[in-house]
């Protein structure tokens, strides 16, 4: 029996995993992946089965926890945004070496167009060099189906599987047919080859040879995958390769009746035999893929002397930003003048429209921190403020114009320390509570060990605000963490980030920035959005 549900791509995958016998879901919040773990947390079946769904401190700890569950034979998922895979890269790449025991799916949700991210990196590259097979669903139904398929693939090949999502699938809803009978969970069991899980050189050398041999089997599985296929077409002037959701954009352009032979790729390694078959029947190839030109680059190689290949490298399709149905249709219209009718028909833009950038909420405590910080900084000649990732990154915009850098999770503290090492004074780091426990603590230890003249402001809103208010792992523990790391108690302060505390905050910032050593100021006020939700939940 099947039932129909309206689900986001993220939710479809999460439900698919639960229905396929999931035992543990691990994640750190990050747009557009957050809704995967949130769905598991809200699922009655997951609660009944006590499926693990607590947030982890960061993507690396999440990945390792999931790997531990897989070691014990149970099915696990770990989800993150694309840049989260950078944080989890060490265990991710090495998990190909240990292999998996219970099915393990690593979800990376890419964010082309950078709707809520600092870059457009394409997660498929990671899987390629780690020698990990990849699934890339074209729609919500495949996201659901690939959970079960992915677990089976992972258990049969004894290796983790990467599932690549993109914003337009993660955050788009569609009707999905789901199983009414969820599978049972795996019982506890240990790896058949325990040596493989101890990655010391003697073991690793043996394992690596095995992994390289398995790579060929993975390619064979891609060739026979139910998610990869050639859809025949009669117009052989062009063959189209479309991966992931690009397949939908091609179908959209031709109203579901693509006249050209069309290779749909949703499982990697790239199925070479299918590519060869398509190339053999067409005069030229157009590659439509979301993200960087991953397949196209392989097809062209360095010399690009094979059959004519079109795509992003020649800028026929824009290289940056999201792929759209428009960009695919325009590419076909440009290549074949008789398909000019496909050219997107946008009308005239309206005149009276200005951009409306996002801003910190009115009444947000970060605003008070920035207001006081800016006032305090006026007393110094050349202050630099090293920012971090979260709502407070918006402090870059007017009216605050308060931060000089924002790079990656935790970089505020370490960059401020490096700047202080270079002679910068004052060097101020501003970081949120969740980002601090994600990746700020280790950097703070560096600063403690050298008593670096850095002023760290932890703007503690008691939540992970940017992604919608998930529990923050350091709530209630920040002072103890700082003291435990060795911050001098005389230079560790806590203050409420309230408008009425403006003068106190300004004075405190000024005093600590004048101090020639490390200070930490925890400015605390609950995120008003999270506070509102908490109040609502209580009144229910």
């Amino acid at each position: 029996m099947k039932t129909k549900k309206l689900l986001l791509g993220d939710e479809a995958f999460a439900l698919g995993a639960i229905d396929a016998g999931l035992s543990g879901a691990y994640a750190y919040p990050g747009t557009p992946s957050t809704e995967i773990l949130e769905y598991v947390q809200s699922s009655p079946l997951a609660r009944e089965r006590k499926i693990h769904s607590h947030w982890s401190s960061n993507e690396k700890t999440a990945m390792e926890e999931a790997l531990g569950m897989s070691f014990c034979g149970k099915r696990a998922i770990v989800s993150m945004k694309h840049v989260g895979l950078n944080v989890a890269a060490d265990p991710f790449v090495n998990s190909a070496m240990t292999g998996a025991n219970g099915g393990l799916i690593v979800v990376a949700a890419d964010d082309p167009s950078m709707h809520s991210s600092q870059n457009e990196q394409d997660s498929r590259f990671y899987a390629k060099f780690a020698l990990i097979p990849t699934l890339e669903p074209c729609d919500q139904q495949e996201a659901y189906d690939m959970a079960r398929y992915g677990f089976e693939l992972s258990e049969s090949m004894k290796i983790p599987v990467l599932l690549r999502l993109v914003t337009r699938l993660s955050h788009s809803r569609a009707v999905v047919e789901t199983e009414t009978e969820p599978m049972p969970e795996n019982s506890l069991s240990y790896p058949a080859n325990p040596r493989q899980w101890v990655l010391m050189p003697a073991n690793s050398r043996v394992r690596y040879r095995q992994l390289l041999a398995d790579r060929d089997n993975m390619e064979a599985l891609s060739e026979s995958s139910p998610f990869n296929r050639i859809v025949p077409g009669t117009d052989r002037r062009l063959g189209i390769i479309a991966s992931g959701i690009a397949y939908n954009y091609v179908q959209e352009a031709f109203g579901g009746k693509c006249p050209f032979p069309l290779l749909k790729i949703s499982q990697y390694p790239v199925p070479r035999a299918l590519v060869d078959e398509l190339v053999g029947m067409c005069d030229a190839i157009l590659v439509a893929e979301e993200g960087q030109p991953f397949i196209e680059d392989m097809l062209r190689g360095l010399l690009d002397r094979g059959p004519k290949v079109y795509g992003k490298i020649d800028h026929l399709i824009p290289t940056d930003g999201e792929l759209t149905p428009d960009s695919v249709a325009a590419a076909v219209a440009t290549l074949l003048p008789d398909f000019d009718r496909l050219r997107p028909a946008a009308g005239r833009r309206a005149q009276n429209v200005t951009s409306r950038p996002p801003a910190l909420c009115q009444g947000c405590g970060h605003r008070d921190v920035y207001a006081a910080l800016n006032a305090a900084l006026e007393g110094f000649e050349s202050p630099k403020v090293f920012g971090d990732i979260g709502c407070y990154t918006l402090g870059f915009l007017s009216p605050f114009n308060a931060i000089d850098t924002c790079v990656d999770m935790g970089a505020s503290i370490t960059m401020a320390k490096g700047a202080a090492d270079a002679g910068q004074h004052p060097a101020v780091a501003i970081i949120g509570d969740s980002t601090f426990t994600h990746s700020g603590m280790t950097g703070l230890l560096d600063a403690v060990n050298e008593n670096s003249p850095v002023t760290v402001i932890i703007s503690d809103n008691l939540t992970t605000g940017m992604t919608g208010g998930q529990d923050s792992q350091g709530t209630g523990k920040l002072e103890a963490i700082c003291l435990g790391l060795g911050v001098d108690p005389a230079h560790l302060h806590t203050i409420d980030s309230l408008p009425k505390k403006f003068d106190d905050m300004k004075a405190l910032f000024t005093a600590e920035m004048s101090y020639d050593g490390l200070s930490v100021i925890i400015a605390r006020r609950e995120c008003i959005q999270t506070a509102r939700r908490h109040a609502k939940a209580k009144s229910k």
Partner: protein, 192 residues
């Protein structure tokens, strides 16, 4: 049937509740639906939009191609203008007239309204005022949905049942308020 809709507004205004109602209605009518929305940074008071596609046949793309949008439903007048170039030539705009001014360079509202009025098919309504009169200003998105109801391609009773179902968990008063706002919006369109 096939209707491609852009829902527009400012982060926090409640366009996603409109999407939820339409999703519920689509499931009830056994229609295909795709609805792409924006989360994360863009929600903090910035412009937000959602593509919502309804059809009796399978839908391929989550995004609506340019020039194929049938209907723009906007909670804010300038936000409606932001997407008019994506409309089909005979496309329609249903928008609230109440500006949401959270930027220093918001254009002259008269000019915004004049540009809207020059469009071939447009319904402008004071959604918040209408909702306030019959229920509460918080239901302005339902007043807007009511005003859009004749153009969506879904029967009014299915939309009303969906509103009742979606808001059901929040109690009878909230359901009644939202239905009242919806009906007032619908009446407004029919009499203008």
């Amino acid at each position: 049937m096939k209707t491609d809709i852009i829902l527009a507004g400012v982060g926090g205004q409640g366009i996603l509740s409109i999407a939820t109602i339409l999703g519920e209605a689509a499931l009830r009518r056994n229609l295909y639906l795709k609805q792409a929305e924006v989360h994360g940074m863009s929600q903090r008071g910035g412009d937000v939009m959602s593509c919502l596609r309804l059809s009796s046949d399978p839908i391929a793309s989550d995004l609506i191609p340019s020039g194929k949008v049938d209907l723009i439903i906007s909670l804010e007048p300038m936000e409606a203008l932001r997407y008019v170039h994506l409309l089909v030539p005979e496309g329609r705009v249903i928008t609230s007239t109440e500006p949401f001014v959270n930027i220093p360079d918001y254009p002259d509202i008269e000019a915004v309204m004049a540009e809207l009025a020059a469009l071939p098919r447009v319904v402008t309504l004071p959604a918040e005022a209408i909702a306030r009169e019959v229920a509460s200003p918080r239901s302005s998105n339902m007043a807007l949905l009511g005003a859009s109801a004749p153009y969506i391609g879904l029967p009014v009773d299915v939309l009303e049942d969906s509103i009742a179902a979606v808001f059901g968990a929040k109690g009878e008063k909230i359901v009644a308020d939202n239905l009242a706002a919806f009906r007032a919006g619908l009446e407004y369109t029919q009499s203008h």
